[in-house]
Symmetry: C2
Subunit: 426 residues, 2 copies
Amino acid sequence: MHITANDPKRKTWLEVPENSDFPIQNIPFGVFLTRDDIITIGTRIGNYAIDLGALHQLGYFKGIPLTDDIFLQDTLNDFIADGRKTWRTVRNRIADIFDINNTTLKNNEEHQRVILFTMDEVEMQLPVQIGDYTDFYSSEEHARNVGEMFRGKENAMVPNWYHMPIAYHGRSSSIIPSGIAINRPLGQKMPKGAKTPIFGPTRALDFELEMAFITTDANNIGESIPAHEAEDHIFGMVLFNDWSARDIQRWEYVPLGPFLGKNFASTISPWIVTLDALEPFRTEGPKKNSEYKLLDYLKTEGKKTFDIKLEVSIQPENDEPTLVSKSNFKYLYWNMSEQLAHHTINGCPLNSGDMLASGTISGSREGTFGSMLELSKNGENPIKLSNGSDRKFIQDNDTVILKGFCENKDVRIGFGECSTKILPHL
Amino acid sequence: MHITANDPKRKTWLEVPENSDFPIQNIPFGVFLTRDDIITIGTRIGNYAIDLGALHQLGYFKGIPLTDDIFLQDTLNDFIADGRKTWRTVRNRIADIFDINNTTLKNNEEHQRVILFTMDEVEMQLPVQIGDYTDFYSSEEHARNVGEMFRGKENAMVPNWYHMPIAYHGRSSSIIPSGIAINRPLGQKMPKGAKTPIFGPTRALDFELEMAFITTDANNIGESIPAHEAEDHIFGMVLFNDWSARDIQRWEYVPLGPFLGKNFASTISPWIVTLDALEPFRTEGPKKNSEYKLLDYLKTEGKKTFDIKLEVSIQPENDEPTLVSKSNFKYLYWNMSEQLAHHTINGCPLNSGDMLASGTISGSREGTFGSMLELSKNGENPIKLSNGSDRKFIQDNDTVILKGFCENKDVRIGFGECSTKILPHL
């Protein structure tokens, strides 16, 4: 089926600010609380939040096989489980409803009153109930940078790294949507040279610039998904900030991996941008290192990643944000198809709403690193903010803002913001 | 409130076989599919499955503040979220309903027909929707045994081990109830001396003898639970077999911990035995190693663990099971209160239905180890089965059966079986 929603010439009768992340070609999916305290599934065009539950009740999805309550839910899980054909049909229909040449809703102010909200009238929620969350480690530059700091230059790249997309399981319960402040976490740390650990707030609070994809019900236990089928099971993507407390992480992570150094919070952007919307921005990833023979189940061909520009800013309280990093999703060594094929090769089941994050996305040049650990060289080279202060790691009352967008001469498809303020420890 | 359900003198009008794990003093909670294809929440006495949804509809819980549909659900999550007072009141009431001196249901055959099933008429389901699953590493003996094999004698005990209950996040989606067969998983392995990894079925399939506890909604993000309050947030316990593919695990686990070597399956016993039922079997755990100064948030006092006898048997196809290990839950160095306090010290939220497993429970003597890796010394000393065959690891068509029970002169409280058959790889 053709993705007519992507037509770059299409215009909408809704007002869309110049340079908006959400033109009519985007049509992401999210969940929000309306001014009437109702939670509903919706989409966004420009600065309008659109209630899909209301659209459905008023008959705008006529002819599409959807259950009556599919959009009157707290999460997108059931809609995602309906599969790619349904997502695409609904997205195409939404594009038609808001097309500048379609007067049905455009001329029905009564309907508009229950369907349209301005973004400042709604409160974004988590878009899915996340059953399981996996975090990959798929940026070669990040793995090398962090490996050097944690294990020394000799042992920076672990022997398995080029043979598989390394990953670990993270914590679903502490994933929060953009806009919710968190407290600086407490924990155990072993200061350099100390004989016994100390307890207190982390002194090395860090962001990790990541993206995550959300799956549909992909497989039953025992079954594998071949890499060439993987994208059929991916609904869409969000920005992902995998908050990390480096001092806690460093002391705890051998031998079983990160735990309390990570599981106090991760932040996502609330609108899931579909793979369909990203289609015009397909690109090839880095060439695989030819020194390492790749096993067949991990081989992919063609344009299996996306050119998504990424930015991180730090905003001190009552001050302007400073852009501290620019990276790109396409830098990742392992793509989503390879990640998904690897994750299921042993029969591990993926369900609707599962979230698979990329790992920190660093580029190779200065200013393209995806964490303070790398940007400040573990605190040795603090970075300057525009207000004159400097940062080794994130301070109390700082807000960290991730942004992501794709752009060509015709259209810009963006993810909005993934923003979190750090409050002092409790 | 007194736990009257624990009265060791109480007898029931239902028939209970001698040595049953499920006397009227147990009253565990589970979820089952009935002969009428209805999923309901229930309990078990002897070999009877008791439909709590039907009991509730027929008015047997009158006077207890419960929502109408609390037992007419696919999972226990909402009931668990109701909190300890509710669990205890319901459990006491169930004891009264089936008390030998209570004739109300005993003399009502019509009610019995919709309330009582024999165990062979029902199909046990997962008792909870598991939001997050965490696996600890709390047996000193297991950590030492495995550490020696994976990292050598010098590095067996990692420096942080005595300072905190080490843990990692596991996979919720592949947790299955007892009785479901699984296929041998495929994956990458790096044979000794090889230069490049090979692909194929695991040749080192292992069980891990564990127990897990299930929490209620314990805390909001950012909040910690003090160790002395931890048990208020624990609903009950199950047997837990954390299936492991040692060859896959060994090749992948540095630096971020176990992933595909573990996440293909874990099996639980389907009846959750409440902490209340285990109360008579409280005991003290091992003394903490005085060489290591414990941080305050991890200190607990008194009897914070339970004397639960554990057994593992391997049953080849069409043959008798052979008992291969006897261990005890009380051997664990870190208790559940310490685990829960540690897990939340950084503000990580625990929700109703979350599962926290102990890690492999090994004793100090031969024949008390909780995995084949330890029992067979990584395959060097195969163990003999009663049919004359031997095992380095688990073979196709073997069934691994975990059992657990508490016993004193008055009563036996058991967990039933946690059993899984291994099928050949797909």
